[in-house]
């Protein structure tokens, strides 16, 4: 398996001179599987536009483009590039789009395709002539994607339903774990609070610890883990419940789970190249933390696991 990052940013694209090294596009990861380089795309943030252009220039020459797109969730920064993914305008293209939607929400097709309405965009979703199928995903311990590629999905902790993906092929594992923040005790823990309930407080702690362990088991032993790392621990303290993880937590969790390579991902849009370089020096200056190789994901970066 081979991974290429086309967008590593969170929240909103952040182009400009101060982000050119790590890149300003939002989430999009290309995964190539097997000898025939089967194409899997994870997330359709603004980075999918340049991926689409690359596919038009290369893959299309060898025949129709066929791909599976897995959306971690439907927040804007993860779907905004979809209307600009040129292959969907080519009639021979076949795309399957998988992803979760929050339980009370519209179907995936309406949430993602709904961006292509005249009020937002000059082409209506109904005008697309390519073959596009939307498939709703929930938590699932095993989905057989064919050709020996297997997938499992895990419900993460984000304000809307967000899934982590674990792709396994030929003994190698690529895992995504974003957007998410560590589960925490939501219940009142201060005994002097009139609403305090000891049993609830204790169970809240227990469940949070247990759920975080379940997430670590999900990415245990991964050859590559792409993890939410939007904030530093210090910044996170003021952003609890926003649905993102600190760099420190992501590294510690990957260490505990025996992850081989950790790509810190979903960089804050305000983070400059200089700051990311500085953080890289601070957190993974040696390139390693424990047994885990740690780096900040960068647009254009390729990780070859073959």
């Amino acid at each position: 398996m081979k991974v290429r990052f086309w967008g590593v940013r969170g929240s909103i694209p952040s182009p400009g001179m101060i982000t050119r090294k790590y890149g300003g596009n939002t989430a999009c990861v290309e995964l190539r599987v097997g000898q025939d380089e089967r194409l899997i795309i994870i997330d359709a943030g603004s980075g999918i536009r340049t991926l689409g252009n690359a596919l038009m220039a290369t893959d299309l020459l060898n025949g129709p483009i066929k791909t599976d797109i897995f959306l971690s969730h439907t927040h804007w920064d993860h779907i905004m590039g979809y209307p600009f993914f040129t292959p969907i305008y080519v009639p021979t293209t076949e795309v399957k789009i998988y992803g979760p939607v929050s339980f009370e929400d519209d179907p995936l097709e309406a949430v993602v395709g709904g961006q292509m309405k005249y009020r937002y965009f000059p082409v209506n979703v109904g005008e697309l002539s390519s073959n596009i199928e939307f498939i709703r995903l929930k938590e699932d311990p095993l989905i057989d994607l064919g050709d020996d590629l297997q997938l499992s999905t895990k419900l993460l902790n984000h304000p809307i339903t967000s899934l982590g993906y674990r792709f396994e092929y030929n003994g190698k594992v690529v895992c995504t774990c974003y957007d998410t923040e560590p589960f925490r005790n939501l219940f009142i823990t201060d005994p002097s609070d009139p609403d305090y309930d000891e049993a609830m407080a204790l169970e809240g702690d227990e469940v949070a610890i247990e759920q975080n362990m379940v997430v670590e088991e999900f990415f245990a032993g991964a050859d590559l883990l792409i993890h939410d790392a939007q904030y530093t621990q210090e910044e996170y303290a003021a952003r609890i419940n926003w649905g993102h993880t600190s760099i420190e937590y992501a590294i510690a969790a990957a260490n505990r789970a025996g992850v081989k390579k950790l790509a810190l991902f979903h960089h804050d849009p305000d983070r400059t190249d200089d700051q990311l370089d500085q953080l890289a020096l601070q957190y993974c200056g040696s390139g390693k933390s424990g047994e885990t190789e740690v780096f900040f994901a960068r647009e254009g970066m390729v990780v070859d696991l073959t």
Partner: protein
């Protein structure tokens, strides 16, 4: 036109009105009171600022409700890999909103089912109508700039507006037949044939169950176009419009296929919305109904 079809055998309906009323009053007296927990669940779940502690506490006070909520969370609909065995777990994993919505819908369905007496109105169709009315009232409330909390209350009031039809016995089938045969509003037929209508019966239940003022008002006055006033009048009018909308849409069935459509304009005037506004919710109603029905597992 009405007169032409009056050969429907009216003698079947020679019911003793006094007896009818007595039966219904007796039935309502014997109905269980609304459990305090369900009342509290309704209150907490329609508040946007409720804390996880409050939500957890109020649901766990009622073991049956707790069981139903967990059963739903562990259903194929959510398809979670690990079984969720406690509310604390459910709230941590799925978040407040999901658990709140499940608890509220479960509590309401259970509550209304406990009051049901006859098969006159098929349950699934009755709920479909109530959901249609609730969803329409909520969407109209959005047009009026109501806050999310007020809109939830409108949805709830719409869900419960026909509560008063629930205790009618099998003789109600005849009343429904007459309303359809004579193409007249159901409430008029109820008054004429039974001497008591679903607004009055609904009020008795709402008082017994101590439902809040807005919901009680919507149950007891959603056909009283002439007597609406003040802020609560606005909410009642929106639920009345929601009810008419669901009837026009022909979504579900609550026995009133010929509502007093001449009331639409007066109600719209009262809430200061145009006929165009009224029609504009059409785009979202279907989706919202679908969503609510999925959630209520109808």
């Amino acid at each position: 036109m009405i007169g032409q079809q009056s050969d429907y055998p009216r003698e079947n309906m020679e019911l003793n009105k006094a007896e009818q009323r007595k039966n219904i009053e007796k039935f309502i007296r014997r109905m269980p009171s609304l459990s305090t927990t369900v009342g509290k669940v309704m209150e907490i779940c329609s508040r946007t600022d409720a804390s996880p502690n409050e939500l957890n506490k109020v649901i766990s006070l009622d073991p049956v409700l707790t069981g139903q909520v967990l059963k739903l969370i562990n259903s194929a609909y959510y398809s979670l890999v690990n079984k969720v065995t406690s509310l604390t777990r459910a709230i941590t994993m799925l978040g407040m909103n999901t658990v709140k919505n499940i608890a509220l819908s479960t509590a309401i369905i259970r509550t209304v089912s406990s009051a049901k007496r006859s098969k006159a109105l098929p349950t699934a169709k009755f709920w479909a109508h109530s959901i249609g009315a609730g969803v329409s009232a909520k969407l109209l409330g959005e047009l009026k700039g109501f806050s999310p909390m007020e809109r939830e209350e409108l949805f709830l009031a719409g869900l419960l507006h026909d509560l008063g039809k629930v205790p009618f016995g099998d003789e109600y089938i005849e009343v429904l037949n007459f309303a359809r045969w004579e193409q007249r509003p159901l409430i008029e037929m109820e008054r004429e044939l039974m001497g008591i209508d679903h607004e009055e019966v609904g009020l008795m239940i709402a008082e017994k169950w101590k439902l809040n003022k807005v919901i009680t008002g919507c149950i007891s006055s959603h056909h009283d176009v002439d007597r609406l006033e003040g802020e609560i009048g606005q909410q009642i009018a929106l639920v009345s419009l929601g009810n008419i909308y669901a009837n026009i849409l022909d979504h579900g069935y609550a026995g009133d296929p010929f509502p007093a459509e001449e009331n639409i304009e007066r109600l719209l005037d009262f809430v200061d919305l145009s006929m165009k506004d009224f029609g504009s919710i059409g785009n979202s109603v279907g989706d919202e109904i679908h969503r609510a029905e999925m959630f209520l597992q109808i």
